[in-house]
Symmetry: C2
């Protein structure tokens, strides 16, 4: 037996007990006649004491050999501390060591195992097993486990069945790129790893399982952006005999439960906003509504004057940044540089200082008089002291740019508070979106999403205007879940594939099994999928998902700890009937 | 709203209620003036009634158009049935339909959606979504979900943290064949899908997580035997600061909990048996101890007579088959044919009838007199009425053959009762096993398993005799879990790789990260992994795992429903820098 207590358990009630503890050496303070060692494990820290008056010389000698991160076992007696530490569960006691066993020595770790470490990102990833010893990482992994259990318990209590769907499935060219897996037993053929269990969960509904969920890994072979992983985890859900309203209520329930259970936050009914409204008001289909700075459209008040830039723009739109009227010329120039960065891409920015004294000063005073600017103030709901920032151009692009500026100012002004939670549903998404590259419409959600009742004829005349029974759950400026009511009849599904540019043969080859299934009494159904990595990060008050993943990959999709991917043997390639090209 | 009740909820307390129900048409009985329809969903069946005296003609006409597996929605009133059905929760009532909506029609399904179907295995797999509508399959999937939740809740309550380990890892030639995943972003390089999260869970222990579990898919590219799947699910567990005893106690606790919670069976302390004893007594390291027929070794009493076959054998060993002395000559000949089948491979079988009257009659009366045979009776613990079956030859082979016979007789005699549960621990496994193909020793469990204390020197002199801190949990003749205490110091691990024939370079390239981790204060640790598919099947009283998997693959590793694996585009291959050889 290596221990009879962990390192958070002993306290004043344990006085004089003989105990056995195990753990890592966190810290050593050697005062000559007395040595203190902080012994750490997952649960906490217990202070050990080696006292030349009370501990045998041999044990003291042993203690002098210890180094940081040595793994040791000690036997000793629980004593009351002279100087107590109220911040630790074990802060009232210390253990006077009688016997010390070194279970494993340690080399000096490449970075300090402290809450604030001196290790950079790359070093921490290479030695991830040491990084996990640090409280900030360890606690995030435990937090994730807790969130997963809360999800599972809630959904199970609501009669959802967790079903494991297969990982070795079939590649479909639609959507993002699949990771593929060559089959040795079926030479020249490949499995694909699922981007989501979409078709399988729909088949489970055809199969009458009624309520399904799964916490499941999904895979996408995309060029990675920061904070995107090639493998990620979804909470995948599907229900039968439901309309959109049923889904929204069920998963609003789940989200409220998590906020209560995990964050002890009570949230009232989630607001609902149409996609069009979200785009118009926040320039973004996942608005952070913890703060204002709603968009004010200025076309009617800023166009048809002499300012050519605005007159030629499809959209002139501004936000009032609270308290920023006091920005210096230099600060404003910096802000203009910021919106002109390639990541944002604005050509310039017009501004109006709405000073505390009610006066107005703009960068376009040449073209607009006070009355004009007063109208801008009204449109943007600016208050004295605010800085009105105005962008213009093509409507979609400009909205995106102003949204980026709004989020940036939200961050700079501390309006995006990690412990405040503002969920909302964004509904009535367009069914299709135009793709400039391929010059055709793509499914905005996926090809299984049903159009709103009665809108199928519109597909022929104005496809971009067709709305879908699709919805996103947005939390603090992040899409944490998205789903739709699915098509459940074979004819509509075939029609949809046709509109999306699939030939009959392609549709049959890729999704024939699903359309066949729809001819055998497929029920109405719909669902949602949550991104667990993101959800956990946001509930944990963070924006970055990486530390909520035990062994994440870097931006080249590499695991630098185990050094994967890696070349494989020629023999292995041969068995798979494969050759490298280069 | 598609329904306000499911099809198991209405009963006598719901009388006269107006209700809305949805579901599938299970059965239609048309008596002309009255039509009964059984409406089915996941939860049960509700009887609908269309009565020409009380239902509108239009609705009756509609009802006449219904077919099996149509999806319908009805509104109606709950009435008391005339002839009640005590076997159904809704057996006291029926719903008089006022409004009928066909939500989706159905073609005639390729097999009947009944508990006993007319569909063969292949047809059922191709239309798995219809198969899942059948109670036996549906209930097994729900049962699996329930077992998984019970596992998770138990382990979470014991402070285990569920951590998701990566699916895209590195290929290692040790062990079974990996499935590999070509990396597009790292041309010419491959990920592998994990055969188990072994090294990652060990790194989590090095990382101080203390108690880890995960219910996780694993992958093995093996030539499939019946009831083996290329992807399978493990309950993977690891603990820190533990000895074998701690692991056995913890997971005996889990198993007892499952038997109680799932099967309502209380099991006392699990027996423990060494590997050597299991092999000697049952010829098998996963003995089914629900029944006797223990091996009786006969070398001392059957050799050194004139029977050459036995004299030349390394081992002569028999079992007493209860009540089989009455077998006819023909039946015994059939049994001899059975042991001579290539799957068993015995050259022949000697038998002794120990008749009810105490007389003995054997197939080798020429060589053995009654006193000789009495000794056989004693060794095999035969009772009057038993048939003693004796095999001989090389010890290992003969034990395997006799074990096959023992299991077969257990099945034939109904001794392997699905609702009886007899778990046991098999311990003290050999560390290594000799492989005839490669002419060297392989790790019996895996290369991370620690040898018993003090046995490392034996590796040099008698490697096959070294015992490991390895254990299997056996239930009803199946290994449901296996694990070991791991090596946790770098030197022993390097030594082990050396003994297993790894060059220093190979060991470094494949497991360098683990050995490096061992130099930074790796704690003593150990664990276990359960095969969830098998565990669930056994708790469900079945031997075959296939129906406990939602979408299993066939024996060629194919999913015949979605038709995977399949060829991929030349374009996709090019992106992966790959070419087919043939």
């Amino acid at each position: 037996m290596y221990r009879d207590h962990n390192n958070s358990e002993l306290n004043i009630s344990s006085l004089n007990k003989k105990v056995t503890l195990s753990g890592w050496v966190q810290k050593i303070r050697d005062k000559g006649f007395i040595i203190w060692v902080d012994l750490r494990d997952r649960y906490g820290i217990t202070q050990l004491v080696f006292d030349s008056e009370r501990t045998s010389t041999a044990v003291i000698e042993q203690a002098r050999e210890l180094g940081r991160e040595f793994v040791i076992q000690v036997e000793g007696q629980v004593l009351e501390r002279e100087s107590k530490n109220k911040h630790m569960s074990t802060g009232d006691i210390e253990v006077l060591v009688e016997k010390l066993t070194v279970l494993n020595a340690s080399e000096i770790p490449p970075f300090t195992i402290e809450d604030k470490t001196d290790g950079g990102e790359d070093l921490r990833m290479k030695y991830r097993y040491l990084d996990i010893r640090r409280n900030p990482v360890k606690n995030k992994l435990i937090f994730r486990s807790k969130v997963s259990m809360a999800v599972r318990n809630y959904l199970s209590q609501q009669d959802f069945v967790e079903v494991e769907t297969p990982y070795l499935i079939k590649s479909t060219p639609e959507g993002a790129r699949d990771f593929v897996v060559p089959s040795r037993m079926n030479a020249g053929q490949f499995y694909a790893l699922p981007q989501s269990p979409q078709t399988f969960k729909q088949l489970l509904m055809v199969g009458g399982l009624d309520k399904y969920f799964q916490i499941v890994k999904c895979f996408r072979d995309e060029d990675l952006r920061a904070d995107r992983q090639p493998e990620f985890t979804q909470i995948d859900c599907e229900m039968t005999f439901v309309e959109q309203e049923d889904i929204l209520n069920t998963f609003e329930g789940l989200t409220k439960h998590l906020l209560k259970e995990i964050n002890n936050v009570e949230v009232k009914a989630f607001p609902r906003m149409t996609y069009d409204e979200a785009m118009k008001t926040y320039g973004n289909d996942k608005p952070d509504i913890r703060f204002g700075m709603k968009f004010g459209e200025l076309n009617s008040v800023a166009q048809h004057k002499d300012f050519k830039v605005f007159n030629e723009a499809e959209l002139v739109v501004g936000i009032a940044v609270p308290g920023a009227a006091s920005y210096s010329r230099k600060e404003i120039d910096k802000l203009i540089d910021w919106v002109k960065r390639p990541q944002v891409g604005a050509k310039g920015m017009v501004y109006v200082k709405y000073n505390e004294d009610g006066t107005l000063k703009s960068s376009v005073d040449k073209f607009y008089d006070e009355a004009d600017l007063k109208a801008w103030v009204e449109q943007t709901h600016a208050q004295p002291g605010d800085l009105i920032c105005v962008l213009s151009g093509d409507a979609n692009t400009t909205r995106g740019q102003l949204s980026a500026l709004r989020m940036e100012m939200g961050n700079r002004l501390g309006l995006r508070k990690p412990n405040e939670f503002a969920p909302l549903w964004v509904i009535d998404f367009p069914l299709l979106e135009w793709d400039e590259d391929t010059k055709r419409y793509h499914a905005m959600h996926h090809p299984f999403t049903s159009p709103k009742a009665g809108q199928i004829p519109l597909l022929a005349t104005d496809p971009g205007a067709v709305k879908a029974n699709a919805y996103d759950l947005v939390l603090n400026g992040n899409e944490i879940g998205g789903g739709s009511i699915r098509i459940h009849d074979q004819k509509t599904q075939a029609l949809m594939f046709d509109y999306l540019g699939f030939s009959k043969e392609e549709a049959e080859a890729q999704f024939g099994f699903l359309m066949k299934a729809f001819t055998y009494g497929a029920p109405p159904h719909g669902g949602i999928a949550f991104g667990l990595d993101r959800l956990v990060a946001i509930l944990g008050g963070q924006e970055s998902i990486r530390d909520f993943i035990a062994f994440p990959k870097n931006n080249s999709g590499r695991d630098i700890m185990i050094d994967a991917p890696a070349p494989i043997d020629e023999e292995q390639l041969k068995e798979l009937d494969l050759k490298l090209r280069s």
